[in-house]
């Protein structure tokens, strides 16, 4: 299960997210994430993705299932990367749309605070989701710039 501190980050402080896949030729693809939601099992994350970012997505997932999600808190640079395997897609629910709304609001507020863009600019950048990728988290790594960047925090690295 994803540790509580990381759940708090995902549900609270994280304000920008992007995902990655790779195809059968080991060519990577980027997919902006319009919202995220941890399922009740605390191991599966639902990533909400707009149709503009589908290039290479489902072909890669059906080929090998590998998926990574990087979430950052804009401003502090606190960042974690979640790696795991695709477990399926799903229809958008009201809870997913609420998660999209939260992500859009957090991004817009951070952008306004730290970069000075008007909030509508930030909200329009986080596009309405069309599909959901569900993946089971296998590992989590710190990506916050600094001496511990790259350290695996889930499961904990052996001392």
């Amino acid at each position: 299960m994803i540790p509580g501190a990381l759940l708090d980050f995902l549900e609270g402080r994280g304000s920008f997210a992007v995902a990655g896949t790779r195809d059968a030729n080991l060519v990577p693809h980027v997919h902006y994430v319009s919202g995220w939601l941890v399922e009740p099992d605390r191991q599966t994350i639902r990533c909400l993705i707009n149709r503009a970012y589908l290039d290479g997505l489902f072909g890669s997932l059906e080929d090998n299932g590998q998926f990574c999600l990087t979430v950052e808190q804009i401003g502090t640079h606190e960042t974690y990367q979640f790696k795991g395997m695709y477990v399926g897609s799903a229809d958008l629910t009201d809870a997913d749309l609420a998660a999209h709304h939260r992500a859009s609001q957090k991004f817009a507020k951070a952008l306004s605070l730290f970069v000075g863009y008007p909030e509508p600019v930030g909200r329009s950048f986080i596009r309405r989701p069309d599909v959901i990728v569900r993946f089971a988290v296998r590992e989590v790594f710190v990506q916050t710039p600094g001496p511990v960047a790259g350290r695996r925090i889930f499961p904990s690295e052996e001392p």
Binding site: V18, R22, V27, V30, R51, A52, S124, F141, P145
Partner: protein, 140 residues
Amino acid sequence: MIRGALLPQEIRAVMDNGVPAVVVTCSADGVPNATIVSHARYIDESHIALSFQFFNKTTRNVRENPHACVALNDLAGSAQWILGVQYDHSETQGPIFEEMDMRIEAIASVSGMSGIFKLRAADVYRVKSYRLLSNEDSIE
């Protein structure tokens, strides 16, 4: 959507806007890695450079599997440029490195990361393709 291999001039403004870029790479054993980088620099219409600040997974991945995908953010235009690139070489001196080093120092100063952000190398990539995603691409 536009596809091509030679970058158009209008991408230079996006690379100079100070907004971090996203880089996705893949290890030789097939695990993707997505990270945020401080600075992407235009070199010419078929090459870009990314700041290499830490010994991290991105650095290792592109040295064992040179394919990478770079996303540049045009916040004002509500668009992204998605580049398919291939790692070519690293530079630790010379005009590209020096200019990126100064830029990283400035970014670090503004973002409270002085002493943490330090350019180790300018990693140069060859551009294989690009796409421009605007809001029109997200509307059915």
